[in-house]
Every structure is written in structure tokens, then in C-alpha cells.
Amino acid sequence: MTVSVEVRVQEHEFDTGAEFGLLRADNHSDGATTIFVGSVRDFNSGDPVTALALEYYPGMTEKVLADIGQRALERWSLGRVRILHRVGQLVPGDDIVFVGVTAPHRQSALDACGYIIDLLKTEAPFWKKESGSGRARWVESRASDHEALEKWR
């Protein structure tokens, strides 16, 4: 099996079960699969959220995601990496991001999954605008997301 990185940015929903199937199909050498899915919460920093608009930078966003996946492949012994991200109009409960990693061993799959989502949070050009309580506001970047990178230095 050849190692691979697949990335996709899309408006429509993704199907986590189907994506899991693609990570596993004809893959008998990787004993470990790790998936992270991020979803829209109904509260953020104490404020109710009723809708979320996601903007991105077509072209650059896909390149950054592919680059993050590639850096994970160089750092751990992995099989397949899949990174999906939704853009456009979302509501609470909707899934925003999918990170899936397969590896021969579990620690690599777990670490690489955490690494990819940490890098995506700080490097990939996506911006969220939340609506709730009758007003819309751009989400501020979090210091904690930058601090999370410390463990990968």
C-alpha cells in the first residue's frame, strides 16, 4: 500500500462512516485508524450560537492542508491521511472538519491526528463568523491554539 494524503474543502456534508471506509479499504497493513471530527457547538465562549459561516481562501487552503498532511507523513510512519473541511453556512451540530489517519501502530496514528488538527487550527486559511443573540461576530483566534503547538516543536 502506498502512503497518501487526500484533502478536500467542500460546502456539502461529509459522511464520517464513508470516509472511515476509504481509510480502511484494502488496507491490511495498518492496524490503527484515528479520526478527529470537529462540530459546531451551540455555545462559544458563553454566547449562544445559532449559525456559523465559514470562509476560506480557495487554492491556498487546499495547499496548506496538503502540506500539513505531508509534514505528518514525514514525522510519523503512517499509511493514509485524509483531511476534509466544510465551508459556507453551518448550524450547531454540523460537522466542520474531519481528520483521519491510519498507521501500523496506534501511537503514531493518535499523535499524527492531534498534530494535524493543531496545525490546521493555526495555519489553514479558514475564518468563522458566528451568529447568535441577533448579531454576527467574527470568531477571534485563541491563544490556546497557538500554545497547543508547543508540544510539536
Binding site: 470537529g38 465559514l54 470562509e55 476560506y56 481562501y57 487554492g59 491556498m60 495547499k63 473541511h85 466542520i96 472538519v97 488538527i117 490546521l120 487550527k121 493555526t122 495555519e123 489553514a124 486559511p125 479558514f126 475564518w127 468563522k128 463568523k129 467574527w138 470568531v139 477571534e140 483566534s141
Partner: protein, 82 residues
Amino acid sequence: MIRILFFASLREELGCEQLELPVAGMGDISQVRAALQQRGEKWAVALGRGNLQVALNQALAGDSSTVKAGDEVAFFPPVTGG
């Protein structure tokens, strides 16, 4: 010409999604930024923010990155995906 893009809150603040600038006198990103800031008070403030990020041809860049005709330069606030 150099193509300039603005995203998210910066795009809204400037009321501008993209524009083109003549390449004359533009050696690096800092000069592109300075030229944009000349467009008025709103532009001076918005493009002067310290946390603004810049991409040159769809890769993160710094103030000293060299620009040339046909380049795409993007300014945007800190990213908040995931």
C-alpha cells in the same frame, strides 16, 4: 500588476474583496502594504494591525518577501478554522 486579496473581517472592514496595484515601486510586501495604507484612514488602520497575516502566491510570507508582476498577495486576520 499585482493582485491583492482581502479576507474575512478585513474584507468587510475595507469593503473590498480584491484589487490590482501597478507593480511600479513595489519591491516587497512592506511596500505593497504601505501603498494600500495610503488609500485613506480606514486602510491605514486596518492594514497596520500587528496580527495581520500575509500570503504571497498562496504561501505565508513576511514583510520582506519580494513581489513581482503577476504575483498574488493576500492579507487576512488570524485564521479560525477547525
